[in-house]
Structure formats: C-alpha cells, structure tokens
C-alpha cells in the first residue's frame, strides 16, 4: 500500500502529471527490434520506458530429456531472468521465486497463441532476459517473446501484446513504472491476443474496487493495442525495409 498525503503530490502533481511527466493515460516510449540475435531461431529486443529486455526463442527442437516430450504437441518452456545488473542493487543471479512465477505466467500467456500441435515431440524454448528493469517487465517480456516467436517462424494463432495499468496516489493510471509500482496501490498486468480479443494474462497486485478495476482494465487494453501496433510494424519492418526491423514511438 502506498502512502497518501505528501507523496500523492509527488506521484501525481497539480497538473495531473506523473513523476516522469506523463499523463495518467500515457504509455512510456516503446521501441521494438526484431531478429538481432544471430544464434537464436527468433529474437526481439524491446525498450519499454527504461526497461531493456531481450527475448530469444529456440525451437522447435528435440527435447532433452526425451521423456519430457509430449506425443501430440510441442512443450513450451519459458525462462524469465533478471540480469544482476538490471536493477540498482545487484540482483543475485539465482532464479528467485518471483522469476519462477513470472516464467510460469509468461508461458501461460504465450501458450494459447501458439499452435503447438503442429510440432509434436519437440520443445520450444523462450528466454526473456531483463537487462534493465523499471517496472512492467513481465508485460514487456511477453510482448518481446511474442515477436521473437513470430520471428522464429512458429505457427501462431495471434500475437500476444501485454501492458499494465495500476493505481497510484488514488488514481488509476496506465503503465506504471518501478517507483509507481512500489509506492502505488495496485498493479494490473494483462496480456491480450489482439485479433481474437482474448486475454491470456490477468493479474492484480493490490486492491481495486469494481469501478477502478473496470477503468484500469480498459486503460491496459488500450495499451495492449498500441503495443500490438508496434509489434506488427517491427515485424513488417524487418522484411520490408526499416533497418533492423526497428519500430519506435517517441514521446
């Protein structure tokens, strides 16, 4: 829970602007690059505000150990990891409980979009490495992983775009950063399959009443749609002309 009073005016000031100057319904600047890792089958690098996250996909490939293989579809394995230098204080490289949870959550967010039945007895490995973290990394990681999977040429029903909203200083806002997350009252990350309009991730940390939830959810949905537009443009850019498949929005 955050503190009220003096801190409220810091997080959202009299003009309704936030610490970094954004409005309450404004996304941070986003840049997506496709296919920058030579060794991975598919890769994407996303910069979401100050977050810098690399996603790499290997697969479909043989499963080792063989007994983990499924006879009728591929096994999706995800690893979300924060580099030791991704945060202000060195983060211990060993997987923390939070990273294990986020790994699972990312897998469950991506799985419905992948046509795993097309690749029986294989594995698809997704690595999400956070190089610099500033709140909302699981959403940015999912968005990058989705682009990396498309880059790897894996059959997908849809892309997955993710974005978070939250409640800060008593107000519902879009896309909270690390400070807002730490001092705010709620964090609501969601992931969306935009063409079929289905949610694949919905989490809530904190407390929102019905009305706040509705508002936060619709903010986050809009955020997802913006992210989706950038994912598309990054993928198209790779094959039709932008160098490195870069697509960015500027503030």
């Amino acid at each position: 829970m955050g503190k009220q009073g003096g801190d409220s005016s810091r997080l959202i000031n009299e003009q309704g602007l936030r610490l970094d100057g954004r409005r309450i319904d404004e996304l941070r600047p986003i840049k997506i690059q496709v296919g920058i890792l030579k060794n991975a089958d598919g890769s994407a690098f996303i910069q979401f505000g100050k977050n810098k996250i690399m996603a790499a996909v290997y697969g479909p490939k043989e499963v080792h150990p063989k007994h983990s293989a499924l006879p009728n579809r591929s096994v999706l394995r995800c690893r979300y990891h924060m580099s030791p230098f991704s945060t202000e204080e060195r983060k211990n490289p060993a997987p923390s409980r939070r990273e294990i949870e986020i790994s699972k959550v990312i897998r469950e967010a991506l799985e419905p979009a992948l046509m795993l039945e097309d690749y029986p007895r294989t594995a698809i490995d997704v690595f999400v490495e956070v190089l610099q973290s500033d709140g909302g990394s699981r959403c940015a990681g999912i968005s990058a992983a989705s682009v990396a999977l498309a880059d790897a040429g894996i059959n997908m029903r849809d892309l997955v775009a993710a974005c978070a909203a939250g409640k800060v200083a008593g107000q519902v806002v879009l896309d909270i950063d690390d400070t807002e997350d730490k001092e705010g009252q709620a964090d609501l990350p969601i992931a969306l399959m935009p063409m079929s309009n289905q949610i694949t991730l919905l989490q809530l940390d904190g407390q929102l009443n019905d009305e706040e939830f509705g508002k936060a959810f619709s903010y986050a949905l809009e955020g997802c749609k913006t992210v989706y537009r950038l994912q598309r443009e990054a993928l198209i850019g790779k094959y039709f002309g932008h160098e490195d498949g870069v697509k960015e929005i500027e503030q």
């Binding site: 690749y119 040429g153 894996i154 029903r157 063409m195």
Partner: protein, 268 residues
C-alpha cells in the same frame, strides 16, 4: 502477421493459414497469396517442416539395428529404414548398415511419410536419390528455396550456367554444389545473394552480373516461383547428375511401410 484475416468465406485454407469460422487467418509472418478458391501464406522465415514428396538433402547422423537417422535441417529427424535399402530380406544378423551408408554421409532422399504421430520416413529408392559422393553443402533458409530454384528452374539454371557447377537443391534448404573449388565459391556467392536479396525484382540480372554473365533477358520474367515441382531440381534433370545409386530394386511401395498418409497438420 499471425492472427490477421487473409480471406473470408468459401476459400480453401492452404499452407500457413487456419480456418476460424468464416475467416481464414494467417499463422505466420509472410506474404498472403489469395485466389478465388485458395488462400495461403508464404512465410519469410521459419524452420523446415517436412512434407510428403519433398526432395531433401540429409546427413546421416546415427543408426540403429533397423534404420538410419538423418539430419534434415528440421526439428524432426528423418528415418531411413534398412529394409528399403537392403531389401525385404534384410536381417541385422547378416547385413551391416555401415556397408551402405555411414554416419556423415549425405543423401538425397524423398520424404515418403510424415504425420503427427511419427518422425518423417525417407526413401532413397528412385532416380536421382541416394548417397551423394562429392560436393559442397550449403545451408539456406528453407523459405528461400523456391526463389533459389526460380520459375521453372530459371534461377538455378542461371547459376549452373554461370559457374559450370551442378547443384542439387533440397526443399529443406540444403544445397549441394559439385564443381571446381573456384566455381563452387562463385556459386556459393550467388546463392548467398539470392538468399539475402530474395525480394528484389531484378535478382536474375544481379546474379548474372555477379557471375560475369551476359545479362540479356532470355527466359520468362523472373518472379517468385510457384510451389516448385518437389522432385529433383530442374537443373538436376537437365544435366542428369549421376548420383551414386546404392538403393536396389525394392521400391518402397512394395514394402507396406508407407503408412496411412495423413498430411502433417500445418494448416490446422
């Protein structure tokens, strides 16, 4: 883009698309090809997924008592049964697999079976198939194979003419080049050019210029090839490349090994 609607209504969902109610949606990043009755997406990249009747170039990586296992540049490994090479009366007691094919050998093979329940089954019985005794192997993205072959084989013929090499292109992206070392290097440069610039319109002229050939246009205008005839590459047939024919008599059809041919569900 995956999830994008490619077509609606009564069109057949072909490669890399999936039907969802009234809509046909893409499953890959690529170019959509829509005609009045068929919709498909030609992807820009992606792994090789074997299809029945594909000609592939594979490398033997292992063997058991009953079959060789081959790397087909795919996430699935190809199986070549000993019976289809030795004959129906093959027995591990009297015949040794290494007599015919050893680990590391390159083969030109045909995919005769592949479905969800089993790894791809290969055959080297047939014209132009078998062990590849010499040559240099180059790997390209399987998505670029139609471009490398060209319309009616025009691109591969161009490269072969310009380098005096013979080439065998597998649908799985493995290409064998046979020629002198210098000519082979020039052929590799041409192949690299095709792979990297597959989208440009004047690719044939650029290849001709690279190989120092006369660039007057002869054959029909170069375009993205249709689904190529999945037999030996056009250049192959024209030159009659003498691949070593190890495989004897027994055509696989006799074997009863061909399982019920369920097509791999690429478009499910």
């Amino acid at each position: 883009m995956p999830g994008e609607v490619v077509a609606r209504g009564n069109v057949r969902a072909d490669l890399n698309v999936v039907r969802s109610g009234d809509k046909v949606i893409s499953t890959r990043v690529g170019m959509a090809e829509i005609s009045h009755d068929v919709a498909r997406v030609v992807p820009f990249s992606g792994p090789y997924i074997p299809r029945i009747d594909d000609l592939v170039v594979a490398k033997i990586i292992d063997y058991s008592a009953f079959a060789w296992e081959a790397d087909m540049n795919s996430c699935f490994f190809g199986i070549l049964p000993a019976q289809s090479v030795f004959g129906r009366d093959y027995s591990p007691a009297k015949d040794s697999l290494t007599d015919k094919l050893q680990v590391g050998d390159m083969i030109a093979a045909k995919v005769i079976a592949f479905d969800r329940t089993r790894d791809p089954l290969l055959s080297i019985s047939g014209p132009g198939l078998g062990r590849i005794p010499r040559g240099q192997v180059v790997k390209i993205s399987p998505a670029k194979v139609p471009r490398l072959i060209g319309k009616k084989g025009s691109m591969i013929k161009t490269i072969e003419a310009g380098t005096k090499c013979r080439m065998l292109i597998g649908q799985n992206g493995m290409v064998v080049i046979v020629g002198s070392p210098d000519d082979t290097l020039r052929a590799i440069k041409a192949i690299t050019l095709v792979e990297e610039e597959a989208h440009s319109a004047d690719l044939t002229e650029r290849v001709q210029r690279l190989l120092g050939m006369d660039t007057t246009p002869q054959a029909p205008q170069e375009g993205v090839a249709d689904e190529p005839v999945p037999q030996a590459s056009a250049g192959e047939n024209a030159e009659g490349t003498p691949l070593e024919q190890d495989s004897p008599h027994n055509p696989v059809e006799e074997e009863g090994q061909v399982p019920s041919p369920a097509h791999p569900d690429q478009t499910s």
